[in-house]
Subunit: 372 residues, 4 copies
């Protein structure tokens, strides 16, 4: 069951770490640490092997994957010796990267993107292709009324931002689609309609790799212990491309909103507190998040929990990209179409569900994957 | 359904906060924050009302409850205005405290303790009495062979330390019994036999109120994300009576062992790292715990999570004492006898189970309570 | 040597804690912890006794001091038992509070403010009066050209914001003046001219009580060890009136700028990193600051220092108000006029100096005070 | 002015990083970050150039320097590309390493060690040689009475542990000597006598590279602000060889005692709190220290400061080794003999002084170096 993994933002840090990681797993250079789909809980699920994944993608920049791999190694995001050993896999993926969409007529763009996908599928004789958007976050704006149904949308594709244009192209091309970032992507009624009509599944949005992952277990803890959270404040320091993008306040606000929703939805009441995303170039691919939770115990006594998370975002994201590719391929094989809330385990802003408690999400994922 | 709550260590911080808290809840001075049994999830369970709990207990010291209440208020563990308003409840509990067991013939001691329990039950016309050990932690030693079965034990009660003597007296007196501390208490084969033969339930050990509570959600998070924990180190700074007791290395070691087991049992592999418990008198009833978790992500890249917990132990413990009294009373009413692993949600070292993941424990508790 | 201490913002948290603290010191209820001027280093300086300070002030609100004292006690900023014992001192200060300046003709306002100061001095037979601005921070705007010299300023007092109007009134009335906040206050060329001509000293701005205090010793540490700071990020969570004021982005920016200057001036090169001030109401008078410093060691290896400060701002500020009153009174007695850079030890944005290293500032203060 | 730097423990992490660093500085591969002696404050001091330092030393293990360099690079303690470029310097130092002292007759050992030093000096035509002990920490025991004066000592050299035997050999051989670790080394009356009689300077003990460095600025801050420290607790997690050595409780206790002295001596009163040193192998050359300071402000209100330091010990130590070699060489050239308290800036347990405040130590160092 050969599956294509087509990455929007194929020359970025996450994509590069994904290609390197898949090759390292295939060559058994590393154990599958960080790979959820390799847990015993999913032993019975009919997922494609990591060794059967083939990589390609779109990107607007021309920086060679090998160069980006070198940067990642220098920043400690991937080990240098692994990069040295997976050169051929990097070259193979390099050969499958096509220019991303920038400007120009959206109709023509869609046609071209679909041709790229179709060529990729044909060339590698792939049973199916999962398209995953790991490009820089785009600011979310109020969706245009024309995105409310497919007919209106198809009358005017100009209303789509580029993340949604990729989703449109992917779904229309019969590919499963994943929003790995908080960009709008597939989260529009018209695209839901398209996914259902074309019989493709989609999942998203905004993979939780660090601070929000921790929040998704701490917030349920407070809830189950009947402790009342008074405020939850967070500061995220990040360098790298992502930090720079999110320093743009508009883009940040879409990220911040998907981060903030969790506490309210898990706890059932609004919680005070700001979330900051700061661009700190010297941190490179690494992120430090500090969270301060002020909560109330019995008899109104106030207490505090703080945590500091220091992680490498690309390295945390890459195995989840592999997981999502495998789960989505299996979902499509099993005939699932439209939004897949059961993949909420992976996301800050899961589609079609308000369940944010990690343990519940894990149980839902195990049950769903077992039934595919 | 009037239920007696008999506290071993009835003049300690936890007991005093429990008596104050129950009175404050009855008088609706405070909302039931921190009270698990008041969550909507347990709305259908047939639990005694907090207003129907009657308090008494044993203690070896003579410090009046009112004085201890004042100390707690000064240390910020309970609000001064609440203490002022629940004076009569404090006096009522004071009138029900009897001298604890110190030295002397264990057989006579047991008889006296049981008489105290029987008198208490009669005087207040109680349907049942739950005995909860909230006394200072006693060092655990290798259990005497005579504790392996009830017949051998009853031939020589001298082999029991005082925590177990209380458990023996309680169970033999037909009372449900809870080990709130890591002391041996009811955790002996002979006492299990006694509980089963007398038809009384027992639960324990070592309530998780702070650092371990947080670990019980973070460790499953690492497991579910397939991240490998390399080391987990912890330092606990605490003042108050508990700090002083645990500064005794032997006592500390029993606490440390019940704290350390969690990571191994949740993760399935041994994890490096020391756990310290330091006595820092100026912290009073407050505890600060710092945990440092070093973990491995994809491709062998190391990352870090640290947290700092600042909580008031007595205030965190008190509502759990009320919860346990209610659940155990209901369990006995429903005919449960012997160990109750479904109450593992409350404990660092739950009896008869290796399940430490908080969310799983919560689900088990909800299911069990609903079926009582 | 009786000295008046006239507080702008006399009903605020800082002023109230100051009045309570001075009374508690006079009555020997507490040791002089937090009082710099009581250190042995200043034993030889000719400072007025704390017992000889008399309090009064202006405020625009009418909340009684006693009520504010109660709030402070409830929030843990001052001990309840101390408040109970200094009732008469609170009442005495209450009787000396006059309505603050709000709107209306600035010339008439100045006249009225000066009359209040003169009456205060006369009524209590004070040798001198130190005016200290502890009112809410006002946003700093570009100073009007008329503030460049005294003659232009006196032609049009409308160009002064209220913090500067108080400074103008105080200096013109022959009073030493202190900017305890980052408001403009006395920091204008015209007011410097006035202070020099009237022979009164002034000091400021923005007392360093927490995060910046710590920075003022850590930054020199990095400098003296030749370690290169790459970024210094900070998040300040604060409730209370101050938090609410600083939530106004303009006001915050004046505070942020006086906080950020330190690293650049101590280290000698610009340092990356944002500083956030978040209003978190549930924290009351307490403040939590988290700072993350990323620095470079030998051979370009990056390392990290983080700190978390949890302090009570009013309680930290109050003894510094007493210190400043004592030092300024002595300075005026010794004939010092104009800016006093030697008091830079107390401020984030010290007047007439770029020295921010705490230890250097302390030495300068000791030398200066000894020579008064 | 060619100066030899003879390292006891010449194959360890600190020595290796020192050799690499000196070569990198000479080749201008890196700026002198972390090098105190390169600060403008020392521009006038007559110090040997780093380029004029020649390295050799003793070690009991045979692991090649090049291999250790590789390990350091893999652990992120030194950059891989630097190691690649300084191969010849590593080989040069390798050629100057002689077997360290293990067992056998101390008299013969001293003779052999001195021959090694003399050969080194001759071979490289060195003006002088500074011996610096960077070997693993040895447990300190009660010094033997015979170490109280030189005559008694020379009658029985068996009473010296190996750190002191090296010191004896070095001083007797006319070499300046530095205790970079907390081992006894030169800190014995008999050795002081020897240093004075032979006209050689010595300095120590226990370089402060991380947690204690931070304490040496924070403790003075509390003192200068008249804030009372109630407790100061610390946990140090470290891997690498140092962690393993210090896991031996006896060795740790000598380190802990030199760490704990600081607060008492700076603050002038004893301070509660434990210090832990934990061996956490997965941290490699990196160290994480968490300190928790509970302090009292005005009116008895308790507050808290916590910090987390994450540093690479070898990388922090190496430039200090270079600094000490340069300062000691200059001191000997200037005729200083016996203990040098003015180098206290570098040490946790400075010889002949109780001054621990970093800023004061820096001033003393600048003054002393300028006068050489």
């Amino acid at each position: 069951m050969r599956t294509g993994v087509w990455l929007i933002g194929a020359r970025g840090s996450v994509a590069t770490a994904t290609v390197i990681g898949a090759a390292a797993l295939r060559a058994r250079l590393v154990p599958p640490v960080g790979c959820v789909s390799e847990l015993p809980d999913f032993a019975g699920a009919r997922l494609p092997d990591v060794a059967d994944l083939v990589f390609g993608g779109h990107d607007v920049t021309g920086i060679p994957l090998a160069k980006r791999a070198e940067q990642l190694a220098r920043g400690g995001a991937v080990p240098e010796h692994v990069v040295r050993q997976v050169g051929p896999a990097i070259e193979a993926a390099e050969a499958e990267i096509r220019p991303g969409h920038q400007d120009g007529d959206p109709g023509q763009a869609v046609e071209r993107l679909r041709d790229d996908l179709a060529d990729f599928r044909r060339r590698h004789d792939l049973e199916r292709v999962v398209v995953i958007n790991v490009a820089s976050t785009q600011p979310r704006s109020e969706p245009h009324p024309a995105t409310r149904d497919l007919a209106s949308l198809e009358a005017d594709l100009h209303v789509l931002d580029s993340s949604s244009l990729y989703a449109y192209a992917a779904m229309g091309g019969g590919c499963a689609y994943v929003d790995f970032t908080p960009s709008t992507g597939g989260r529009l009624p018209a695209l839901r309609e398209l996914a259902l009509s074309r019989g493709v599944p989609y999942a998203g949005s905004d993979a939780k790799t660090g601070e929000t992952l921790v929040k998704s277990v701490l917030a349920p803890m407070f809830a189950q212990r009947a402790l009342r959270v008074r405020s939850w404040s967070g500061t995220n320091l990040l360098g790298g491309g992502d930090g720079q993008t999110l320093a743009d306040p508009l883009a940040a606000s879409s990220k911040i909103s998907s981060k903030g929703r969790l506490t309210t939805e898990v706890l059932g009441y609004p919680v005070d507190g700001d979330i900051h995303i700061d661009y700190v170039p010297d941190l490179g691919d690494w992120k430090t998040a500090w969270d301060h939770v002020s909560f109330e115990g019995f008899l109104g006594v106030g207490m505090t929990l703080q945590f500091t998370w220091q992680g490498c975002d690309s390295t945390l994201a890459a195995p989840l990209v592999l997981d999502l590719a495998r789960f989505m391929s299996a979902a499509q094989a099993a005939g699932r179409a439209g939004p897949v809330p059961e993949l909420g385990f992976f996301f800050k802003d899961p589609v079609d569900t308000t369940q944010h408690a990690l343990s519940r999400q894990f149980d839902a994922l195990v049950a769903w994957a077992g039934a595919l």
